[in-house]
């Protein structure tokens, strides 16, 4: 329990940094971007960059595990499951819970 208590300043520091960084992304258009909001390059980046960043975040989540081998098939299977459920049902919560439950089962059965 001691090391957990030692971790509280760190926990709060991460919280403050994360809060400020989140606020920064939300306030930016109101303080800077409104001047250049109509610039076609900004519209172009605003359209395509979020999709690319999301794809990179999926890879980032598995940065230590991604392999071009069958070892990565269970993770890949669960990700595809989430994608297909979301495509068909459009229920974010169902997709997330089903995929996570499948992955937890694989982990706890020792298959991952």
């Amino acid at each position: 329990m001691n090391d957990v208590m030692d971790g509280v300043p760190y926990l709060l520091a991460v919280m403050v940094v994360m809060g400020l960084a989140t606020f920064a992304t939300r306030v930016l258009p109101f303080v800077i971007l409104y001047r250049v909001a109509d610039h076609p390059l900004l519209v172009y980046l605003g359209r395509y960059l979020p999709a690319m960043i999301l794809m990179l975040l999926v890879l980032y989540s598995f940065r230590q595990e991604v392999q071009l081998s069958v070892d990565f098939l269970p993770q890949l299977g669960c990700l595809v499951l989430v994608g297909l459920l979301q495509w068909w049902l459009k229920q974010a919560l169902v997709s997330i819970i089903a995929g996570t439950a499948a992955y937890m089962a694989l982990v706890q059965l020792g298959w991952v």
Binding site: L28, L41, L49, M52, I53, T100
Partner: protein, 236 residues
Amino acid sequence: MTTLNSQAFKASLPVMFGYVPLGIAFGILFAGLGYHWLFASLYGLVVYAGAAQFLAVGLLSAQAGLLEVAVATLLLNARHMFYGLSLIGKLGQSRLARFYQIFGLTDETYSLVSAAKIPAGVDAAAWRLRITAFNQTWWVIGCSIGGWLGSRIEFSTAGIEFALPALFVVLLVEQYRYLRALWPFVTALLVGLFTLFVISRDQMLLISVMLALCVLLLQWRTGWPSSAKARQTGAS
């Protein structure tokens, strides 16, 4: 006054059904770190960003440096930068109210306050402020329930960290539904794999986002693929 509150309350109910369960998932995940459950509520109050808070659990358990926390959060929430553009000048006169609405501009709040369906006869700015407040209330309630449950119930949470990439995949599918183009996803996948295997696994996120930005700028200059610009000008 009361009709304003009750109308905003009703409009926020769909968000409640999303935020309370998702907040509970965050709280349970957070409780696995061993801190007091009230810190889960505090994160919901101070950070108030679903995906970022899920990311925080992974960063906290890896004892990530504060710079990495800042960079990862900025990239994860980069999509928010484009939300505010349509709300400029619509957030009311009070400085404090404007500050709070910008602070609370999550995906779901944006989808409600940017919609044209503001009830007739109510002050739009006041209605948006209440929507923001109700939505955060649902989120903090979810985080608190989850944190409390997670600190009391003993069950194996091994593998629950998959909830974060699952959330990314959900957002990815919705992006595809919106863009109807495969090339941004294929390009990002190739750039990401190249960075992972050839450049660096640990510094993967920042490097690959920079590379992706370079690819986009290059495409902007050369006009390839030709569909990109046509679609963009057609939509805006």
